[in-house]
């Protein structure tokens, strides 16, 4: 649990040791547990939207399949790959920080950031496509209410346009919330890069990198769930 043997460093205090902690080990433990607890809250947060998705997919299978078929599966798959690789580079960054190799550490962090921004860029392209196809639900965008051309969307038997609108409502809510978390992650990575360049992290003190790594992996995992549920639904129904 709590170690109370004091080392010389503890007595003088690592420069990053905060005054209310006994030693770096306690500080690190507290930070890690804190991030895990926070991730649990994020699961509950996204959970509400997953519940809505599950319900309406069950009620409107044909509409969901039709709408899902219209999503760009290539872009979605590329994005999935981008995020998986970014989690790998993030994990590498954590490793290099732990062993104290600053240059590979900074390189991996920068790569992760670039991959994250790539994801966001591709997402922006997809959203723009939806905008031109008039698939943004309701009258959220003035002048571009929901109303796709008949040819733009192939409706499977049993699907109606209001139900497709429901799919897109859920699609934008879920991917939008995910993208917001990616943006926050990009901000956190920037902070890590700046501090790494300044040399603030070392094998004794690297928990910020670990903790933000945890956050990044979580955001990645959310996407791993979103991709098949949103993009691969049509194929599932064709074969199912």
């Amino acid at each position: 649990m709590i170690e109370s043997h004091a080392t010389t460093q503890d007595i003088h205090g690592h420069p990053a040791l905060q005054h209310h902690f006994e030693n770096m080990e306690q500080q690190r433990e507290a930070g890690t547990i804190g991030m895990w607890v926070f991730l649990v809250t994020e699961i509950m947060f996204f959970g509400g939207m997953f519940l809505a998705y599950a319900l309406y997919r069950n009620f409107f299978p044909a509409a969901f399949a039709s709408a899902s078929n219209h999503l760009d599966i290539t872009l979605g798959a590329v994005n999935t790959g981008v995020l998986i690789v970014s989690s790998f580079t993030m994990a590498l960054a954590v490793y290099f920080t732990q062993v104290g190799n600053r240059r590979p550490q900074i390189l991996c962090l920068v790569l992760t950031l670039i991959l994250g921004l790539t994801f966001l860029g591709i997402k922006a392209v997809e959203y723009h496509e939806k905008y031109t196809d008039r698939l943004i639900p309701g009258h959220l965008i003035p002048g571009a209410s929901f109303g796709p051309e008949a040819h733009a969307l192939h409706l499977l038997p049993g699907a109606t346009l209001p139900q497709v609108e429901m799919f897109y409502w859920i699609y934008f809510a879920m991917t939008g919330m995910h993208a917001l978390h990616m943006i926050i992650g990009a901000g956190l990575l920037t902070f890590l890069i700046v501090y790494s360049i300044k040399g603030r992290f070392d094998p004794e003190y690297h928990s910020p990198v670990e903790i933000i790594g945890l956050y990044w992996h979580f955001v990645d995992i959310v996407w791993i769930f979103l991709f098949p549920l949103l993009y691969l639904l049509g194929r599932h129904f064709e074969h199912g």
């Binding site: 409107f60 038997p157 049993g158 699907a159």
Partner: protein, 342 residues
Amino acid sequence: MQSWIPLVPDSASTFSWKVDALYFYLSGVTLFFTLLISAVLIFFAIRYRRRTPYEIPRPIAGSHKLETLWTVIPFVIAMTMFAWGAQLYFQQYKPPQNAVEVYVVGKQWMWKLQHATGQREINELHVPVGRKIKLIMTSEDVIHDFFVPAFRTKADVVPGRYTTLWFEATKPGQYHLFCAEYCGMNHSGMIGSVYVMEPREFDNWLAGNTSSSTPAAAGQQLFQTLGCASCHGANGEGGRGPTLAGLVGRETPLEGGQTVRADEAYIRESILNPGAKIVAGFTPIMPTFQGQVTEDQLVQLVAFIKSLPGGTGTTPGASPASTPLPSPPVSSSPSGSPTENR
């Protein structure tokens, strides 16, 4: 009004005394434990009050026996409450087979009711003593709640679906009808009365109330004007579309292998969202009527389809084999008893 302060409202339905009995049981147990705990607290507070400033009583760690005792006994009592309440609730929410139906549409801020025999009422409901009445309800806008304290029953009225409520009135009189789900500005004004009448009086009321056509007759008109007959046949015999005669209460096989029991909600959904459930052997060519029919009109179409021969008339859920029409109360006059439109 009343010369003494009552503890329970008028009892006017077969549920009332049953709910009151459970309520009195719960009150008795509550009173008992409240008095017990309070008495013990007061007794201990006096008997064991501090006498000298620095005294320390002997610590007592606990007792598994006592813990078990006061876990098990409350649990058992709680289970009796649960079982009694659940059993009664089951009765309250399972409408009987032979209930007479009244359609209710709630909207901000009024109640529109229509009897199966056509009489329309606003904010009032006239019913005879001793007859099982089932309300089939929906809302045009927000969620409301149909609450009659004297009957000890209520149910939310939800847009987009039908909810049901049933009762059998036992005592003539005028009773409050309240909206019991906050619905906006005039929520407290969305009130009315339920008039329970002796059967003879009720028949007089029915006769004296010149009705518009029954919901089923109005539904038949709509069936023609909206073009339903072109696919389903003028009497629901079928054609390009599935047969509607005898539909209600029947297990209907769907494309994809499932079956669904056809009820009012199914009919309503099929009109507004025909693609949701395709009957086996048919193609999805029925257009949607969303936006073209009001809730009132939907209720009329539902009533018409329920009235088609081969069906069960007033009682969906019963088997399609011949079901007796609701028998009028024993002491009523022979004429004018509200039967279905056949």
